[in-house]
Amino acid sequence: MVVVAAFVLQFVFWLLLSGVFTPFLVAAGAGSAIAVVWFARRMDMVDVESFPLVMWRTTFHYWPWLLKEICKSGWTVTRIVLDPKLPVSPTLVRFRPLQRTPVGLVTHANSITLTPGTITIEATPEEFLVHGLTRDGAHGCVDSEMDRRVAALEGAP
């Protein structure tokens, strides 16, 4: 299943970059995709972590919410940067995330980093270390709605 997904991804990427659909080029793309997947399998790189199929079904109502959050905090950071007084209060917070699987942890850490104003410095199952541009922004990451939403995503079988 994961192998098929890897093949489809490589093949679609070939078609996207080529944009020419003659039989020879499509066959060459399929051959290249098979070769790449075969090499990746020999390197033990094709696994659930690189193709988290579990997340795909639930992804579509998480991403719009994440985009909304990015717009909101992006506007906050914009106002701080354009403010002549530059009202920053950089803060580090540590907290324990709710997620248990590696994919869930990476999703949560990347979501925090994507939202302007907060950056994940360290991400382990026991503890996240987050740097925030403002004190409110940093403390907003502790026990956040994002934490619960990502945990709900990985909870789906």
Partner: protein, 112 residues
């Protein structure tokens, strides 16, 4: 497509392009103005997410339903996966090499 619908799409994509350019400049300005390395990352993050996302969305509206639009969407999704990876690697490397973040003074929970 009728002329009216074309006009609406054009105006929307121009607005998105201008907003994307604005946020890109704001992000670069943040990179310049903010006081230390860790806070500068937040400025760059505005460019990587809002600036790139809005400009590419504006271009998608101009491209219509073609392969070009699919390429633009791929580019946007790629930035959204790659930018946190690069940011995380940067911050971790900086912290490992001993760059200390400036912290707000009166915060009881901070421990670098």
């Amino acid at each position: 497509m009728t002329v009216g619908a074309q006009l609406v799409v054009d105006v929307a994509s121009w607005a998105l392009l201008l907003a994307g350019g604005f946020f890109s400049v704001v992000g670069a300005l943040g990179l310049l103005r903010l006081p230390d390395f860790f806070t500068r990352m937040h400025g760059a993050s505005v460019t990587d997410t809002l600036g790139a996302g809005l400009i590419l969305l504006g271009l998608v509206l101009q491209a219509g339903l073609t392969l070009v639009a699919v390429k633009l969407l791929f580019l946007a999704i790629f930035i959204f996966f790659a930018s946190p990876a690069a940011t995380h690697a940067l911050v971790k490397a900086a912290l490992a090499r001993g760059v200390k973040p400036q912290l707000a003074p009166e915060d009881p929970t901070s421990k670098p």
